[in-house]
């Protein structure tokens, strides 16, 4: 890869009429030299396709906990369509083909259609990651600029809090907060609330990494120039530093999303999740709870593991690729 980087021009010749086309092909030319990003997008794309497929093939009602639906049905390719439609209501449907109704990926111990659970659970899990990841990145970036740019007591205080909290295993703090939160809510907790809980610690990582970048960038001559020419703090941060740090912050955002999802799945697998949701972590929890491994219900435990593995590897590749893009000096190394 290092050899192609030196021989290929960064962007095609500038006589292309449309600027957007030029830029797009420049982006594509770069992507070709950064296989990590492509691999990441492809893997995440597979998950989106799987979700879309599940949404097309099942109805949302399939993912509901139905006491009268037959549990642990093996996957079957015959007659996988939901029998109920707007003309054919749910009660009628279950009345006549309770037993005959087949499921593409089978059903779980609670009678939920597994494919339908995914079409609900994948967006829920991704939502947790996006909420916690973006809150963490935004708050972390703000704190990092405050600490790195202004320095002084503020910097010392923020650094002390981050260093201390990072020593304590995050999952332990999250466990305590989650228990407390659930108790306040009377044992109920939505997955959005879980995302907010995870966001409480998600700012630690971004704060630390972005702060060190801010410290380096503060010494650059163009930042000093801006300060000398009379720009005030927020102006320098917004107009001079932010645009230059943006790729780095975006790369860190992917990482923050990934670790938020990791934390959410961990908490849910421990039984601290939203029991009314179908998130990937709750699927793992139910699998452990009902011992689907030792019962041989492979069609129940294997799909969530495969989806989670693809999701994490996709995010990992994406963040590696983004790192390379944000930090061009790495390009020569890898």
């Amino acid at each position: 890869m290092a050899t192609t980087a030196s021989t290929e021009p960064l962007a095609p010749a500038s006589n292309v009429a449309s600027d957007t086309l030029n830029r797009a092909s420049g982006l594509w030319g770069y992507m070709k030299r950064n296989p990590s990003i492509i691999a990441g997008f492809v893997l995440l794309g597979i998950i989106v396709l799987f979700w879309a497929f599940g949404t097309l093939m099942t109805a949302p009602e399939d993912a509901k906990d139905l006491a009268f639906a037959p549990p642990n049905k093996r996957p079957s390719l015959q007659n996988p369509h939901p029998c109920y439609t707007s003309e054919n209501p749910r009660e009628l449907c279950f009345a006549y083909d309770n037993e005959e109704r087949q499921h593409l990926l089978g059903t779980d111990r609670l009678g939920k259609d597994i494919l339908a659970s995914f079409s609900q659970g994948i967006p829920q899990t991704v939502m947790i990651g996006l909420i916690a990841g973006s809150l963490g990145t935004i708050v972390g970036t703000l704190l990092a600029f405050a600490a790195g740019y202004y320095g002084g007591i503020l910097d010392a205080a923020i650094r002390f809090i981050v260093d201390t909290l990072q020593t304590i295993p995050g999952i332990l703090i999250l466990i305590i907060i989650t228990i407390a939160w659930r108790e306040v809510g009377g044992g109920e907790m939505t997955f959005i609330q879980l995302a907010l809980i995870i966001a409480m610690l998600a700012w630690l990582g971004p704060t630390r990494v972005v702060r060190s970048q801010v410290l380096v960038m503060k010494q650059r001559s163009y930042v000093e120039m801006a300060r000398l020419s009379g720009m005030n703090g927020p102006e320098v941060i917004l107009k001079e530093m932010m645009p230059n740090l943006m790729p780095f912050i975006v790369a860190n955002f992917v990482l923050a999303v990934s670790s938020a999802i990791l934390a959410s799945i961990g908490l849910e697998a421990l039984g601290l999740g939203d029991f009314s949701s179908n998130t990937l972590g709750m699927m793992i929890y139910h699998n452990i709870w009902y011992g689907s491994l030792v019962n041989g219900w492979w069609w129940w435990w294997s799909p969530p593991i495969v989806v989670i593995v693809i999701l994490f590897i996709g995010l990992f590749m994406l963040s590696r690729g983004m790192d390379e893009w944000a930090n061009p000096r790495l390009r020569r190394r890898f």
Binding site: I168, I173, I176, A180, W298
Partner: protein, 326 residues
């Protein structure tokens, strides 16, 4: 730093459950009631008061906090609420050796294998080809949570191949006897699967870190000097490149310990391993605040201690750093 970390963590640990306004005793009695133990209304009230007095939950928060701090210093967390007469310390003491044995062994193993693998992978003169085939899958495994790998391993090695036991610390039919060689072998066999899932999932992490450090090191002038001096490849590899590149890895080892602990809670849960993670899990599900506090405190203390140890031995690894001159 050590004191600050422990103090903040302990305080967190104390205040968070109490800010919920939840009454652990009432929760416990409700659980009992659900199991069929019924009491009259006035008895119920007296019962709660007695228990609150017994556990010291009726006193002002400041006093509770001070008692808690002093008990934390003395490592005495009182009795468990759900397993009443058992002391929290006793529960933890029973579980600790299991966790330490499993975690320390597997983490160090992954550290050594991963670091060496990453070093060889980056070394220009080494047997690269073989490692280039073996290591990349581990990079991908590093992105997968320990416990998911654990589930797959259970299915492959225990359920399908029936090579290893499904879970637990030892077979439920045997009595623990640490002097018996057969029992020790059984414990080893039971710890193999959880250890394997931790090792497989973390080798890639160490290899990645070491690899990028080694690549940086090879650009350094002293590497050129080592070559100019005519040192053997092995000597310049171990004494010049690895010696320097391993320093950040050691720091990372200290910083990764928290993640090992958090990953291990779920690994222990999945494998039914009788370690601290399982004690914590049972305490969480039983709303046993004293046990949760005790376990979290011990884990934080262990991590803070590990970081202190790394700080102390750092000058031995890196002669450029010394505390006496500073």
């Amino acid at each position: 730093m050590f004191v600050a970390v422990v103090f903040v963590a302990t305080s967190f640990n104390f205040f968070l459950p109490r800010f919920t306004g939840q009454d652990p005793i009432a929760t416990r009695l409700e659980l009992l009631a659900a199991e069929g133990v019924t009491t009259r209304a006035e008895d119920y009230k007296a019962l709660i008061e007695t228990y609150n007095a017994k556990f010291g939950l009726d006193r002002p928060l400041v006093f509770q906090y001070l008692t808690y701090l002093s008990s934390a210093v003395r490592f005495d967390f009182g009795a468990s609420i759900t397993k009443y007469p058992t002391r929290v310390g006793e529960l933890i003491n029973q579980a600790m050796p299991w966790s330490i044995g499993l975690l320390v062994t597997s983490t160090l193993l992954a550290f050594v294998v991963g670091t060496l693998g990453g070093a060889v992978l980056a070394w220009q003169h080494g047997p690269k080809a073989a490692f280039e085939l073996i290591l990349p899958p581990f990079f991908l495994l590093a992105a997968v949570p320990y416990y998911l790998l654990g589930l797959i391993l259970i299915w492959l090695l225990a359920f399908q191949a029936k090579l290893l036991p499904l879970g637990g610390g030892y077979a439920p039919t045997t009595l623990p006897d640490w002097s018996d060689f057969g029992f020790l072998f059984e414990v080893f066999k039971h710890s193999l699967l959880p250890a394997l899932s931790i090792v497989l999932a973390s080798i890639g992490f160490w290899a990645l870190g070491m690899r990028s450090m080694m690549i940086t090191m090879q650009g350094e002038d002293y590497m050129l000097q080592a070559e100019a001096k005519g040192l053997t490849k092995t000597r310049s590899f171990f004494r010049y490149a690895v010696r320097n590149a391993v320093l950040p890895q050691t720091t990372a080892l200290a910083l990764t310990l928290p993640h090992v602990v958090s990953g291990a809670i779920l690994v222990e849960r999945i494998f039914g391993y009788p370690g601290v993670g399982r004690v914590l899990y049972e305490a969480i599900t039983g709303f046993d605040y004293f046990v949760i506090q005790g376990v979290v405190y011990i884990i934080v203390l262990a991590i803070a201690f590990a970081m202190l140890v790394i700080d102390v031995i750092y000058p031995l690894l890196d002669p450029r750093i010394s505390y006496s001159s500073a």
